[in-house]
Amino acid sequence: MFARLTGLVGRDLLRDTIAYSVGIAVAGASFGALATAQGLQWWTTMAVSVLVYAGTAQFAALGVAASGGGPLAVVATGLVLNLRHVPYGLSVGHLYWDRWWTRLLGTQNLLDTTTAFALAEGDDLRRAKIAYWTTGAGNAIAWIAGNLAGIAAGRQIASPEAFGLDAALPAIILALVLPALRDRSTLLACAVGAAIALATSPFLTGGLPVLLALAGLAFAWPPKEPEEAQR
């Protein structure tokens, strides 16, 4: 069975998925440990991880709650951080828009990394679908298993920073988007966008700077139709 899986998915993608999933498992463990240390019941922690299923927003929401923020602040922080999934859905949504259950699972599977892995396959629709689902499955298993391990270990798990994990996840995304930067228009839009995001991030709440980066598109693709000018 493993051989068939390797045949369908491809060795490189399988290897990349495993490498990435190990990182997610450690992140998941630290989320489970942090939530437990903050007094969340194990089932509440798991409900958050399965239902919200967005690591960055979960860590941020936990941080807001820990610093005394009310339910409204927790929800607002998480939702603003998650707004970046709108452009993700616009760009890869067609990959899973088939049956009702692929739409349901695919929607929950929409993440920074699954989007990046799918986009990294370029114009090959079949490969992009395989990448989207394979890395998504790896992410789901690793995140849930990591959560459970973290809950069991409680406070004994060190912060993810000690492992340099906060560098690993951006590095993965960077590696995945690099090939797309060979296109000069995309490179220009990304450079302007990153500059905007960096310049605004000291002043704005998390999640908004990366959306403002979309303005970089206007530099690379001067608006032709009014419909496109908005993006």
């Binding site: 707004l83 560098a167 951006p170 590696a175 990304c190």
Partner: protein, 101 residues
């Protein structure tokens, strides 16, 4: 808090759902399709830049951007992703261990 969790979950699902639903409403030219793809790339790269350089609205320190940079250079030299991940994490972790943060 349970209600907050459910609202956050439902809101996140709707945000994720909105992209493909919007896509269905509008017919996309090849040009628009390319811009949409670039849009996701722009957001992803901005996410890399901000999460590597800014933490909680302030300078992240040297260890974090150094690790991401090492990973980026390796990826540019076409190193496998596993190596990129390990090298980025190890660089940041070792710098921190050495007291550089």
């Amino acid at each position: 808090m349970l209600i907050a969790i459910l609202v956050l979950a439902a809101g996140t699902f709707l945000i994720r759902l909105s992209g493909p639903l919007l896509r269905e409403r509008i017919s996309l030219s090849a040009h628009a399709e390319a811009v949409l793809k670039a849009g996701a790339t722009v957001v992803l790269l901005a996410l890399v830049a901000t999460s590597a350089i800014v933490v909680d609205g302030a300078w992240a320190g040297w260890a974090l951007p150094a690790g991401v940079l090492v990973g980026g250079v390796l990826a540019w030299r076409r190193a496998p992703l596993a190596l990129v991940v390990v090298a980025a994490a190890a660089t940041t972790a070792l710098l921190r261990l050495a007291g550089i943060d």
